[in-house]
């Protein structure tokens, strides 16, 4: 298997990390949710982020995507400082995410939900809507084609026209991934994409993430509790505890680190 690091650069991509966090700090009142996080994710990597509940994983992604801008430190996307930019603007720069607790529109079909992911590529205006046949139709076709590509990629044909409400959770997670991929991001944040899945669904999802990296040139930040997934598909990883970094590097080394074991499993086992 080719790993991301060996991949040749596609024209237009800059060398250097896709995302770089420098001493990022975020507080909520007196609580330090993130305390001086340094993280570098290289192009084409699948980067794992782990830690016990409440350790700051989601806060870190919210800091990157602009929901909770950091109070200290800088965040760079493709070398450009995005600290404090609005979330919708960061999305147009090629960052897409999925949510830990599904954020799909239940009353809409799978297809429409995925089409929503294209909104950053759409150029709505009164004139274009009024003169739909002349001004907007070709764009609509292109957007639909892009969505169909993603449906094909994630094998969602069977539920294309179903309401999101009625499909199983494993598929909902896949629809979320589809919506994120429909935005054609260069950087994708997956917040626990495999929560609540069985072994088979997990394997499918892992395959899709690897394929997304290889075929759609996406760099991935993966938050996950399933350690087998992290060690199985991530190139490097970072472990957090109480908002602080407790280990980073190649998964095999990080998961063997006594501090990580203690944070996850408890002290008694760590000393064994």
């Amino acid at each position: 298997m080719t790993r991301g690091g060996d991949r040749l650069l596609v024209a237009g991509e800059s060398a250097g990390p896709v995302i770089e966090c420098r001493s990022v700090e975020r507080r909520f009142g007196g609580i330090v949710a993130l305390n001086g996080i340094d993280m570098r994710i290289e192009r084409g990597e699948i980067f794992g982020l782990v830690g016990p509940n409440g350790c700051g994983k989601t806060t870190l992604t919210n800091a990157i995507t602009g929901f909770y801008p950091p109070q200290r430190g800088r965040i760079l996307l493709n070398g450009r400082d995005i600290t404090g930019l609005a979330p919708h603007y960061i999305a147009t720069l090629g960052v897409a995410r999925t949510f830990q607790n599904l954020a799909l529109f239940n009353g809409m079909s799978v297809l429409d939900n995925i089409l929503l992911g294209r909104h950053i590529h759409m150029k709505p205006s009164v004139a274009r809507t009024a003169l739909y046949w002349w001004l907007a139709r070709s764009d609509e076709t292109l957007n639909r084609a892009a969505v169909e590509d993603v449906i094909d990629f994630l094998q969602l044909e069977g539920v294309r026209d179903e309401l999101v409400d009625g499909i199983p959770i494993g598929l909902k997670k896949r629809v979320e991934l589809a919506r994120a991929l429909a935005a054609e991001p260069s950087f994708l944040i997956l917040d626990e994409p495999m929560a609540g899945m069985n072994q088979e669904e997990k394997e499918y999802m892992a395959r899709f993430i690897l394929d997304a990296r290889d075929e759609r040139n996406v760099t991935v930040l993966l938050i996950e509790h399933h350690m087998d997934v992290i060690t199985g598909i991530c190139d490097r990883m970072l472990a957090l505890n109480y908002g602080a970094m407790i280990g980073s590097g190649v998964p095999a080394d990080v998961v063997a680190d006594p501090r990580v074991v203690e944070a996850y499993i408890g002290g008694a086992h760590a000393t064994r």
Binding site: M1, I151, G158, R207, D214, E215
Partner: protein, 641 residues
């Protein structure tokens, strides 16, 4: 439409080949649609001229890979235009296209590949390529693997892997270099050359390789056409497994010879949606699929509003009783006719429209016998469902029912061009141009089944005085109870399976004094039934043992018993804790029961039934996805019927 006329003027030259017929279509109807494929949400069309070009490029490309006459190409995947084109191409250069069921186990495929010495493989996607690479590691002779969908295969560096696009480009280059090659390729294959290499279903043993020649296939199509099975230019949905002779004989055989429009579903899971979009004019499905469709209709009606249910029940009851009168040879009453007229607009047509059955002219079922109630239901809807009787060895077409000559227990008259007689042992013998010339590398089996040109079908049956054929079942399946009553378990099983709540059943009783059954409930139908009544359950096994569910099944068994003679009524039954599964070897890929395996595996149950126990402890091995093997114990209840 003049081009269509000139093509249909073709008077069934069975002395031809599929590629020649394809070329003929391309000449007569170059811009008509040959294939439609739903790809990325949109139906994309391929004309006859384009299809011919694709097949020729593939054939030339295969030759470029050193594909020689007599070479075997394994074809693995679901219905895809390119897999069909690849099979036509192999047949055009005197090779054997050998389709296999895409969900077949590695062992099954290895057996086929080894026996045939296949050097080539055509795979749909990464999943199938992986299987073939596994086979190769285990020593299979496959040198070249052609794949259709390149997704996920970019990083594979295995030797001999080539994408379809690359193969086609290679072929196009060879064709451009040699202007005579095109015509030579069309003319090369001979009528007696191989068109396809399929395997018989193997319900009574290991699957046997059956090679059908172009002439066999075309003769079969001719017989079926003359018998009124289909006309020129039908629109079909090619969704049946490509390894089943029925699919090849309809999609490729009749599809080429009668220039059908061949529509290919997007994925197996979308067949029902695609059926509605396409609304085919010809539809062949195993009884099981018709049953499933019926269950779907019934389940959806259960879910609908009170008023709709009442209207549906009222009109369906009327139409079904009218249809039953017709089957008994009398006319529907005037009241029934009036009601049917309203029913057509209120109920039947809307249902047919929901499932894309409005344009259906030829609706067929084949493969095994069909339950009476299913059969009557569709005819009541106004779908002229008919039975087709055939087998792998006869290119799928032996006999069909006439449009208005339908009786429940017969499969209709032998087709024109089919000689049929009954041997002294009660076996159906067939002689026709569509009968194959022998099993692949199995001379002994060939000698046993072919005598003086007569094929021993292995089916027990008889001819009615008016020439209608009655197929009882497999000759080897006829069994006797201890009291000497003759019966065919399959016949009773099919009646049980008509209940929407019963997915599979195995009838026991050979050499015993009474019959009994092992029953697998239908998870979806029973699950919904339980849900509507607030019965909670945690798994299939749990659901199957709920007292209410057992009572439900007991009612279904009683209903079947009411139509059976006294000595053949089911006395006891057990609801099994799992469904029969082809992966566990209990049924074949075409869902025919493997009786010996069922009887061996569930011996404790059978002992309990005939040992007059009330319950039985069943231990079962389960293979988990992690590779571990565990044992689960289940107490199953033995029930009086």
């Amino acid at each position: 439409m003049p081009p269509a006329e000139s093509a249909s003027a073709w008077n069934f030259e069975t002395d031809s080949t599929l590629i020649r017929v394809l070329a003929q279509n391309a000449r007569a109807l170059p811009d008509c649609v040959a294939m439609r494929e739903k790809n990325k949400g949109i139906w994309k069309q391929t004309t006859w001229q384009e299809l011919l070009d694709i097949v020729l490029c593939c054939a030339a490309g295969l030759e470029g890979l050193d594909f020689k006459a007599g070479d075997v190409m394994l074809v693995l995947g679901d219905n895809r235009p390119r897999l069909y084109a690849g099979m036509l191409a192999a047949g055009a250069i005197n090779g054997y296209a050998m389709p296999a069921f895409p969900d077949a186990t590695l062992d099954e495929i290895r057996h086929f590949v080894h026996e045939a010495g296949a050097r080539f493989a055509l795979a749909e996607d990464q999943e199938q390529v992986d299987k073939i690479l596994d086979l190769r590691e285990q020593g299979a002779t496959i040198e070249h693997i052609i794949y259709d969908d390149p997704r996920g295969l970019a990083a594979y560096a295995n030797p001999g892997l080539i994408s379809w696009d690359a193969l086609q480009a290679k072929g196009a280059e060879l064709l451009a270099r040699n202007p005579n090659l095109q015509n030579e390729l069309i003319a090369r294959a001979q009528p007696e050359g191989p068109a396809v290499f399929v395997h018989s279903s193997g319900s009574t043993g290991k699957p046997k390789g059956v090679v059908l020649s172009h002439r066999n296939l075309l003769a079969g199509v001719r017989n079926a056409y003359l018998g009124g099975a289909f006309q020129f230019g039908e629109s079909i949905l090619a969704y049946l497994p490509i390894a089943w002779v029925g699919d090849f004989a309809v999609t490729m055989g009749a599809g080429m010879a009668l220039h059908f429009t061949i529509n290919i579903p997007e994925r197996q899971e979308t067949v029902l949606q695609n059926l509605r979009e396409i609304a085919p004019t010809f539809y062949l499905a195993a009884p099981r699929s018709w049953d499933n469709l019926l269950t779907t209709i019934q389940v959806r009606m259960e879910d609908s509003s009170w008023l709709k249910k009442r209207v549906y029940d009222f009109f369906m009851a009327s139409a079904i009783s009218a249809e039953k009168r017709k089957l008994e040879g009398s006319q529907p009453t005037i009241k029934q006719r009036v009601l049917n007229w309203f029913g057509e607009w209120l109920v039947y047509r809307p249902i047919k429209d929901q499932f894309g059955l409005t344009r259906l002219r030829g609706a067929f079922t084949g493969g095994e016998a069909m339950g009476e109630d299913t059969f009557v239901f569709y005819r009541a809807l106004g779908i002229k469902l008919r039975q087709l009787y055939g087998q792998t060895e006869t290119s799928a077409y032996n006999a069909i029912q006439g449009l208005e000559e339908v009786r429940l227990h017969t499969v209709g008259r032998p087709l024109p061009g089919v000689d049929l007689r009954i041997s002294d042992a009660g076996e159906i013998l067939i002689r026709s141009g569509s009968v194959f010339s022998g099993y692949f590398k199995q001379d002994e089996a060939t000698r046993e089944s072919l005598e003086d040109g007569w094929l021993h079908t292995g089916d027990a049956g008889y001819l009615e005085p008016d020439g209608h054929l009655v197929v009882l079942g497999r000759l080897s399946d006829v069994v006797h109870t201890a009291k000497g009553e003759r019966y065919i378990p399959n016949y009773i099983e099919n009646r049980l399976k008509f209940s929407p709540y019963i997915k599979d059943a195995a009838v026991l009783g050979s050499g015993r004094d009474a019959l009994s059954a092992i029953i697998c409930i239908d998870k979806e139908a029973v699950g919904l039934w339980a849900e509507l009544r607030g019965i909670s359950y945690i798994s299939y096994a749990d659901l199957s043992q709920k007292p209410q569910v057992i009572a439900l099944i007991a009612a279904a068994v009683k209903h079947v018993n009411s139509a059976l003679p006294d000595g053949l009524q089911l006395r006891k039954f057990v609801c099994l804790h799992k469904e029969f599964d082809a992966d566990d070897g209990e049924i074949t890929r075409t869902r025919k029961i493997r009786r010996n395996i069922v009887e061996e595996r569930y011996k404790p149950i059978i002992d309990a039934i005939y040992g007059h126990q009330d319950t039985v402890m069943m231990k079962a091995k389960v293979g988990y996805e992690s590779g571990e093997v565990g044992i689960i114990e289940r107490t199953l209840s033995v029930q009086e019927a």
